[in-house]
């Protein structure tokens, strides 16, 4: 069995991993990137629509274009990328991993780690929806993969549960390929995806969006035959007598993403609301020298955010590997009113802060307040599906020393 060493080991080669590998390499250290798929790119590879890179590359790219640009830059910087890897065991504290791949098993040890394992889709089974267990119930990302990467159609007549962006985009994509999309069903009283996607993916194609409604039963012996849908009340409890049935052979779930933390969460702290790793604004996790970035920290709206966070984590991982890191005082970020997902979870006063906040409930008008810093940002039409971003220069962080925390609230 081979033994390898590297300065920075990056696990997961999506946008976050590639960007951190690139920035670490640019900082002058040796970088190895382990990816479980044959090629790097992560979800970017299957997102053939455009809308990527406006902030990171100042250009509008498709997902695969964004990915191949990062791949090219990585190889120019000498990052060694190993595909079809499976991390069999990892000692996060010792920064050592045992890896299986078709080329052989190997052990690799590093000075610093970046974990960028992304998010996975919530599986149908975990929703505990009653009924049979037929084929034809798929997460939207899997459908996207079938259609865009594998050239196969997994549906003839489908309903989409959940109005997240992936579901909306797939509703349009499948319609264009001749699949009949009967409706998009959403249990919340408002859509989960970006407004532009509601217009461009549903309204333009006449696909109905049915709010405050959920799937309450699936029926089918071999393949899915029917789904039962029902109206729900404010507490998402189905309202008796409101159910009806749709004849479909496919149920596409767009029920949200879960940060993939399970392989590492024995050692790293996970935030109960973000459900991802708690990191500081340098990307450092609760274990020294171990960094995390991307959708395994919080599920971000845009690849540009993910790539930017990956970049920061990569740079700090390189500094750590070189022994040149200068950690500052750290204070926790505390949630106040109407704040759901928030990242980072810790402020390291040596680095600028880019704060990402998701509202718990939509607001017509509102103000994001950083209490101890006396900073504010107003917004209109705030919805949970669109993150609010705020950048704070490190020079402005001084009041946090005495306060010992940064409270984020929305009024």
């Amino acid at each position: 069995m081979k033994r390898l060493t590297t300065d920075v080991l990056v696990i997961g080669g999506g946008a976050a991993g590639m960007s951190s590998a690139l920035s670490a390499a640019k900082a002058g250290v040796g970088v190895t990137l382990l990816e479980r798929e044959p090629v790097a790119g992560g979800v970017l590879n299957q997102c053939i629509h455009n809308g990527f890179g406006l902030q990171f590359y100042h250009e509008e790219l498709t997902g695969p274009e964004f990915a191949s640009r990062l791949q090219r830059e990585m190889s120019e910087e000498g990052v060694s990328m190993i595909g079809e890897c499976y991390i069999r065991h990892i000692d996060v504290k010792e920064k050592k991993a045992t890896v299986l791949s078709p080329k052989g098993a190997f052990e690799i040890s590093a000075r610093a780690l970046v974990i960028s394992s992304g998010a996975r889709e919530r599986p149908f089974g975990s929703l505990l929806i009653q009924g049979h267990r037929p084929s034809g119930i798929l997460p939207a990302g899997v459908v996207q993969r079938y259609v865009n990467l594998e050239n196969y159609l997994p549906a003839r007549r489908a309903v989409v549960l959940g109005s997240g962006d992936i579901g909306l985009i797939m509703a349009r994509r499948l319609t264009l390929e001749g699949v009949e999309i009967v409706a998009v069903i959403e249990r919340m009283p408002y859509p989960g995806g970006l407004t532009r996607n509601i217009v461009q993916c549903l309204e333009d194609y006449g696909i109905p969006l049915v709010l405050s409604t959920t799937v309450t039963k699936v029926i089918g012996r071999g393949r899915l035959e029917e789904v039962e849908i029902s109206k729900v009340d404010e507490r998402f409890v189905p309202i008796f007598g409101t159910s009806s049935r749709l004849k479909v052979d496919t149920l596409i779930l767009s029920a949200g993403l879960l940060p993939q933390v399970e392989d590492f969460d024995d050692d790293l702290t996970v935030d109960p609301i973000n459900r991802g790793f708690v990191v500081s604004n340098t990307g450092e996790s609760s274990v020294e020298g171990v960094f995390a970035a991307g959708n395994n920290v919080a599920v971000y709206d845009l690849v540009d955010y993910v790539a930017a966070e990956g970049w920061i984590a990569g740079r700090h991982a390189a500094l750590y590997a070189l022994g040149k890191n200068t950690p500052g005082k750290k204070v926790p970020v505390v949630r106040g009113d109407n704040v759901g997902v928030v990242a980072p979870g810790i402020v390291d006063m040596e680095e600028h802060v880019r704060l990402y906040v998701r509202l718990k409930n939509p607001m017509e008008e509102g103000t994001l307040i950083l209490k101890e810093l006396g900073l504010e940002k107003s917004f209109s039409y705030g919805v949970p599906s669109e993150m609010i971003q705020m950048v704070i220069n490190k020079e402005k962080l001084m009041p946090l020393i005495d306060a010992g925390r940064l409270t984020v609230e929305v009024h």
């Binding site: 069999r88 299986l100 098993a105 599986p123 089974g125 975990s126 009653q130 084929s135 899997v142 071999g222």
Partner: protein
């Protein structure tokens, strides 16, 4: 001499294997695409101690003895078992007599390693048990297994000993001549010569019996719903935990699974009419399973643990006992039906009982062959091997290093082996290798499994199903 065994559940497969010890050609016929996909795939997977079956019943006798046969069987057939032990928990003194009754019953049934424990020992055995419980009946011989693997491995063993395993074909009737079955007819039109017929068709045993003009006790169905929990939940559970049993059955349990998960359930609800395909779950069933689990292990009812829900059906008769008889109408037709719980535990003893006690009534010549091999070769699971060995395997065959299921560490080579062993569907691969059994539920790997199936079976992807021909996965290409 040819024997036809109808039904590739745990019962039929083990009977077919026992018959393979003799100078008889054995044909095992299963109507599903794979072995062990009926009642055998949806149950609690417990090797019961045998302390609660009423003494004098066939099930009491065969459960206790069946349990003891599993160590040797699992070594021969290379399926996993774990003797976790079980506890029946009681809240206060008023419930103690019930435990004592079970203890006495167990002793009468010949069950060993049974004792009543108090609070401290209970905490030691099961630290996360609810503080409400003060006493327990501990049974050291209880354990868990992978029921479908018992059936699959038996079928592999039947084939290795020269028998034939037919899947995807249903027995629809046969030719009867002078009070004996002479031929068995399959849905494909194939006709099998038969000197002995065993009806082990599970929920369908009455239907099969009547296709041969044999009358048997009627079955009604009792549904059991479950929730499967993530490996992370197993930190809360060491062994099988039962509440005090009631007239409706053993109650809703908390059970560890051999691959590291946890099951909550089952419910026990009688179905109106006879609907053996109705393995649907219900909101009320799932809610009650959650509540009972939480009563036993506080904190286990946590949505972040939920992986999936499913249901199984128990074949019940008024007699509440197994029905194992040679037909009065037909001299060489044996029915092994109403195999309700603890049918899995009893299955090896049922097979032995059928051969030793019932088959001789048919006049079939039972001469042992001297070339029977009881064992099968162990199928490689790289997850269970030290990395040095995995490394060596990869050097020989790189597909051991291509991990298809990331949740359960299953390699492409293992999937190919499963297909060579008879898997024809995604579920066939899943149940044999555990690929797609983990927390992402195949979201990540089903597709790759489907592609490997198509490649190995030289089929188009649109012909690959989840578990049957009807359960298609893709309807065709986006572009030709």
């Amino acid at each position: 001499m040819q024997a036809v065994v109808i039904g590739g559940g745990v019962v039929g497969s083990l009977i077919a294997r026992e018959l393979s010890r003799f100078r008889i050609k054995v044909v095992l016929v299963e109507k599903s695409e794979d072995i062990g996909q009926g009642v055998t795939k949806a149950n609690s997977a417990i090797l019961h101690g045998g302390y609660d079956d009423p003494p004098g019943t066939l099930r009491a006798r065969l459960c206790a003895s069946g349990n003891l046969m599993f160590d040797e069987l699992s070594e021969e057939l290379r399926f996993p078992i774990r003797r976790t032990g079980s506890i029946v928990v009681a809240k206060d003194r008023s419930e103690l007599p019930k435990l004592e009754e079970l203890l006495q019953n167990g002793i009468n049934n010949g069950v060993k390693d049974l004792k009543i424990v108090g609070r401290d020992e209970l905490r030691e055995l099961e630290p996360h048990i609810s503080r409400d419980f003060r006493y327990a009946l501990f049974c050291g011989s209880a354990g868990i297994t992978e029921p479908w693997m018992v059936a699959i491995a038996s079928a592999i063993n039947v084939a290795a000993n020269g028998g034939e395993v037919v899947t995807g074909e249903e027995v629809i009737g046969g030719r009867i001549y002078e009070g004996r079955v002479t031929e068995v007819f399959l849905s494909s039109g194939r006709k099998l010569k038969a000197d002995l017929v065993i009806n082990a068709a599970g929920l369908f045993y009455e239907k099969v019996a009547s296709a041969f003009g044999v009358s048997v006790p009627s079955v009604y169905l009792r549904k059991g719903e479950y929730i499967l929990l993530d490996k992370k939940a197993s930190e809360l559970v060491n062994m099988i935990i039962f509440p005090i049993p009631t007239a409706a059955g053993k109650g809703k349990l908390v059970v560890p699974t051999v691959d590291g998960g946890v099951l909550l359930g089952p419910t026990s609800v009688e179905l109106p009419g006879f609907s053996p395909e109705d393995v649907s779950t219900t909101d009320s069933g799932l809610a009650s399973v959650r509540e009972s689990g939480e009563n036993l292990i506080p904190g286990i009812d946590n949505p972040k643990f939920f992986i999936k829900s499913f249901a199984g059906l128990r074949p019940e008769t008024v007699q509440k006992d197994f029905y194992i008889r040679r037909a009065e109408e037909l001299a060489n037709f044996i029915t092994v039906g109403a195999i309700r719980s603890p049918g899995l535990t009893a299955a090896p003893a049922i097979a032995e009982f059928v051969i030793n006690t019932i088959v001789p009534e048919t006049g079939i010549d039972l001469t042992r062959r001297d070339d029977f091999t009881p064992g099968i070769e162990e199928r490689i699971r790289i997850k269970e091997l030290p990395v040095r060995e995995v490394s060596r395997l990869i050097d020989e065959n790189p597909s051991y290093g291509r991990i298809v299921c990331q949740c359960n560490e299953v390699s492409e080579a293992e999937i190919v082996q499963a297909i060579r062993d008879g898997a024809r569907t995604i579920d066939g691969v899943k149940f044999r290798t555990r690929a797609g059994f983990g927390r992402c539920q195949g979201g990540f790997c089903s597709w790759n499994i489907a592609k490997i199936l198509a490649r190995e079976l030289k089929k188009d992807l649109s012909e690959i199903g989840q578990n049957s021909k009807e359960s298609w996965v893709v309807s065709g290409k986006v572009r030709q």
